[in-house]
Every structure is written in structure tokens, then in C-alpha cells.
């Protein structure tokens, strides 16, 4: 499972750093290294872009996992370089941005957009597999999630936009309900598809969501 990210355009990054001249760059050794959006190489490349923008890079680091408590340790180790910067440019996912913002009171500007939580199905191919809706239907849908795999998140079967097993929004996207139908049929469990699924509860856990494990 990886947090999938995409680098913002250089223009957007420049806009985000407007008025901030001294920059400390932080990458992440986990997800954004895997997706080649915030590993050692991309951090070095970004430093070049920043210099072209006329910024001064006070330093950089790639935190092993930017979303956990290692972030605090890594930021303490680099404290003097971070303190001398006007801002941190984050090349982690938004979880890392959130974490970095907890320490040292420096503005943290994201260089990446966080797209989805994906599983790596085949090497280099990441797909969203869970929307974390809080009402798992996978037992009734042969392990294929209609909330994430169907463009409209339909729970009672396909819409009229299904076309030869593909979705109306993109001929390269599979129709989730064709996949579900095929797999349920193989399993001899098509009766599950005949069951009515009532409207979903969008507040299984109230937003902002949190949980305390004791």
C-alpha cells in the first residue's frame, strides 16, 4: 500500500514559494521514493529547479518514512539548516506535510499532490483499491470494491454506461460491475448481486475522522 503522488507543475511550486527565498527540501524514503516523486534523485533535481528560480537551498534530507515519528528525529538532526530557511518544500505525500508542520514552526509547502492510496498490482502499476468508506462490501462483491472501482461508486449493479466491459468515462478503464459479475459467476455466488444494497451511510465515523486505540 502506497500513498500515490504527482509532482505539481514547476509554475505552481514557484507560486507556492512566492516571497520565500531560502528553502530546505524534504523527500521521503518510502512511498514517494517508490513512485519516483520524492526520492533522493527527485530531491536533487528539485534543488536544481529551485536554484533556477533564484532560491537559496539551505539543505535537504530524505526522511525514511515522513509520516511517522522519524520525521521529528530527522528534523531535529537538520534543525540548524531548517531554522535558517524561510520554508520547507515537501516532496512527501500530504501525510508527511502534515507531520513536518508539527515541528519547528516553519511553513511547509507541498511540491506534490497526493492522489490516492494505491496497491502495487504489478511492478510499477498502482491502483486505488480502497476508499476507506467504513462499510466494507468486498464479501458481497467478490473482492472487487464497487466504491473505488466503479466511477460512480454504484452498489447495486452496473449503470447504462458500461460498454463491452469498459467504463463510459474511459475506454481503458474496466467496468467494475462486469468484473464483479464475472468473478461472482465463477464462484457460483451470483445471488449476492441480486441482493438490494440500501443507500450508504456517509457518516460511519464522523469527519474529521480519528480513532484512539487503547
Amino acid at each position: 500500500m502506497k500513498s500515490i503522488t504527482k509532482q505539481k507543475s514547476i509554475e505552481d511550486i514557484q507560486e507556492g514559494l512566492k516571497g520565500l527565498d531560502k528553502i530546505f527540501v524534504v523527500g521521503c524514503g518510502t512511498c514517494t521514493t517508490m513512485t519516483k516523486t520524492g526520492g533522493v534523485e527527485q530531491v536533487e533535481e528539485m534543488k536544481g529547479h529551485l536554484q533556477e528560480m533564484g532560491k537559496r537551498v539551505t539543505g535537504s534530507t530524505v526522511i525514511p518514512t515522513a509520516c511517522d515519528d522519524m520525521t521529528e528525529v530527522a528534523m531535529k538532526e537538520n534543525e540548524q539548516f531548517i531554522r535558517s530557511a524561510d520554508a520547507i518544500l515537501s516532496m512527501s505525500c500530504a501525510l508527511g506535510v502534515h507531520r513536518m508542520s508539527l515541528y519547528l514552526d516553519k511553513p511547509v509547502i507541498p511540491a506534490l499532490d497526493t492522489l490516492f492510496i494505491g496497491v502495487e498490482e504489478t511492478p510499477g502499476y498502482f491502483r486505488e483499491a480502497c476508499d476507506q468508506c467504513g462499510q466494507c462490501l468486498l464479501g458481497q462483491t467478490a473482492g472487487i470494491c464497487p466504491i473505488t472501482a466503479c466511477h460512480k461508486g454504484l452498489v447495486n449493479g452496473p449503470c447504462g454506461g458500461t460498454n463491452n466491459g469498459k467504463c463510459e468515462v474511459d475506454k481503458d478503464k474496466d467496468c467494475a460491475w462486469t468484473l464483479i459479475y464475472n468473478r461472482l459467476k465463477e464462484q457460483g455466488r451470483l445471488d449476492l448481486m441480486h441482493q438490494y444494497q440500501p443507500p450508504r451511510n456517509h457518516h460511519v465515523i464522523l469527519k474529521p475522522k480519528s480513532v484512539k486505540i487503547t
Binding site: 452496473p158 447504462g160 466491459g165
Partner: protein, 294 residues
């Protein structure tokens, strides 16, 4: 009070519906003209709801215009743009103003339309909307609260007989029957043999099916729909027939094809009626009816 359209459905005679599309903007002149032209020639007129995810004057407003002109509207309602509260509220309002027929649809995906960055709601799906209507008719909203003054609708749904693969569609069709669909309007059908086999299956559920008739206005349009519109398949012989006539006669050929398809459906009692969609050429719907002998 029972809807006039429901009485027609129950009368056993061949049912004819057609469709009008509200404008992009507030100039209703053409839209009202289409209503005037068609309201007395068909049993009910559908009003599309931001068809193809293109923002327009609302179907609720369009259906009211039909009521004001003494016609019988079928308000199309998609689940794309409103959550369950907004859908329920619009149903209350619609009923209070005399709208008695609703067609429940999922709605096209947002990115196929002209507001590509809008949020697609889909809080309910077409089946859940259908069941919501029945719950409202039982005097209760989706929050489980009692209504002060209820509603009575004739609620229908759609089915795509040419969808590939067809089996998942049929499961949903059966769920819609169980969910209380009182009529079905289909996506466009051109291949009568295929449609007959669909009807051999569908007939046993005893819910009236109105076959979708979409006017073919050119060979190019027929090819485009086959290639790009999910669930539409125009057989090659119809495309050849359209290509075989001079350009100025193509529309007349399309009208003839639509007319003879309707006549064949009625003659052999293949289904309970037709739903004619002229898509921008509403002016010729009376010609299609004339060509069908109805």
C-alpha cells in the same frame, strides 16, 4: 390521484412517449414549441435531466412547463447532481405541482459533460431512488420520518437491451422490477431480433416496456453512436440504407426507419409501447408517428 400516464399503461393499448430537452439558458421558446407540438400526440413527454451531463434548465422546471400547457410529463431524475435530501425535496415539490411520473436514472458520468470538474454525487443509485419514491409514497422519508402530506408517483426506470455483456444489466433490471418500477423505457434499439429475445425474457416480469426509438439522422451519426455510445448498436444494413440515399433524403430515410420499427413492434406486439427520442429534431416526431401508421 392516479397519473394519466399510469392509466394509459394499465389500459393495455400501445403506449407512445417522446422526449423534450430543456435549453441551455432561459430562452424557452423552442422548448415550449416542442411541447406544444408533441403534447397531444403522445401519452407522455419525458424531460431530460442535464442530459449527457451538460448543465441546462432543470427537468423539474421543464416538467412544470408541460403541466402548465396541459400535457403529461415524465420527469427524468438522475442521481448525479443531488444528494438524497435534495432528490426527496424535489419530489415533494414536483408532486405538489402536479408532476406524477418520474423516470429514475443513475445519470451519465460528470466527466463526459461540460462541467468536467464538478463533483458527481451518486449518493443514491437509480434503484435506491426508485425505492425512495416508494418509501415517500408510503408516507416516510429516507430519514425514517413521517411526511405531513404524501406523494403519489408512477415511477419508471431504464434498461439497455443491447448492453454487452447483457447479464449484469438483466440482474439490475430484475432488481428494478422488485424495487417497484412501473414501466421501463429502453436505450435505443435497432436490432429487432435482439430486442425480441430481450422481450422474451422481460415479458415474464409483467412490467410495460417502451422500446427506445432514436431517430437516425445520418449514416455518420449511426456509425458514431455504434462506436461511442454505450449500449447502442446500429446494424450495418441500416447504415447502408442511410448511405444509399442522396444527402437531402437522409432525414426522410431516418424517419422511415423509425416509423417502420415502431410499426413492427406494434404489429407483432413485441413490447407495450415506444419512447421516441429525436435528439434535437423534435420537429419530426409527428412525421415519425405518421410513418409508423399510429
Amino acid at each position: 390521484m392516479v397519473s394519466r400516464f399510469k392509466e394509459v399503461l394499465e389500459s393495455g393499448r400501445f403506449v407512445i412517449t417522446s422526449e423534450v430537452a430543456p435549453p441551455k439558458g432561459t430562452n424557452l421558446e423552442k422548448f415550449l414549441h416542442h411541447i406544444d407540438l408533441l403534447k397531444d400526440k403522445v401519452d407522455a413527454l419525458n424531460v431530460t435531466d442535464h442530459q449527457s451531463s451538460v448543465m441546462r434548465f432543470p427537468s423539474l422546471g421543464g416538467a412544470l412547463a408541460i403541466i402548465e400547457k396541459g400535457g403529461e410529463p415524465i420527469m427524468q431524475m438522475t442521481c448525479r447532481d443531488r444528494n438524497r435530501m435534495a432528490l426527496e425535496a424535489d419530489l415533494l415539490f414536483a408532486y405538489s405541482r402536479g408532476i406524477k411520473n418520474v423516470l429514475c436514472l443513475t445519470g451519465d458520468a460528470v466527466p463526459v459533460g461540460d462541467h468536467k470538474e464538478a463533483k458527481g454525487v451518486f449518493d443514491l443509485d437509480s434503484l435506491q431512488l426508485l425505492k425512495t419514491i416508494h418509501q415517500l409514497m408510503d408516507g416516510q422519508d429516507l430519514g425514517g420520518n413521517e411526511l405531513d402530506g404524501g406523494v403519489e408517483f408512477c415511477a419508471g426506470a431504464i434498461v439497455t437491451p443491447e448492453a454487452q455483456p447483457i447479464e449484469p444489466q438483466l440482474i439490475k433490471f430484475e432488481k428494478k422490477v422488485e424495487g417497484g418500477a412501473e414501466f421501463f423505457q429502453t436505450q435505443a434499439i435497432y436490432d429487432l431480433d435482439n430486442f425480441k429475445s430481450f422481450m422474451d425474457y422481460a415479458r415474464k416480469f409483467k412490467v410495460p416496456v417502451l422500446a427506445g426509438i432514436v431517430l437516425l439522422s445520418s449514416a455518420r451519426m449511426a456509425k458514431y453512436m455504434t462506436a461511442n455510445v454505450p449500449g447502442i448498436f446500429v446494424p450495418q444494413e441500416l447504415i447502408d440504407e442511410l448511405s444509399g440515399v442522396p444527402k437531402e433524403e437522409v432525414l426522410a430515410k431516418g424517419i422511415e426507419i423509425a416509423g417502420r420499427t415502431i410499426a413492427a413492434l406494434k404489429k407483432d406486439a413485441i413490447c407495450e409501447g415506444v419512447h421516441i427520442m429525436a435528439i434535437g429534431k423534435e420537429e419530426v416526431v409527428p412525421d415519425i408517428l405518421a410513418a409508423s401508421g399510429l
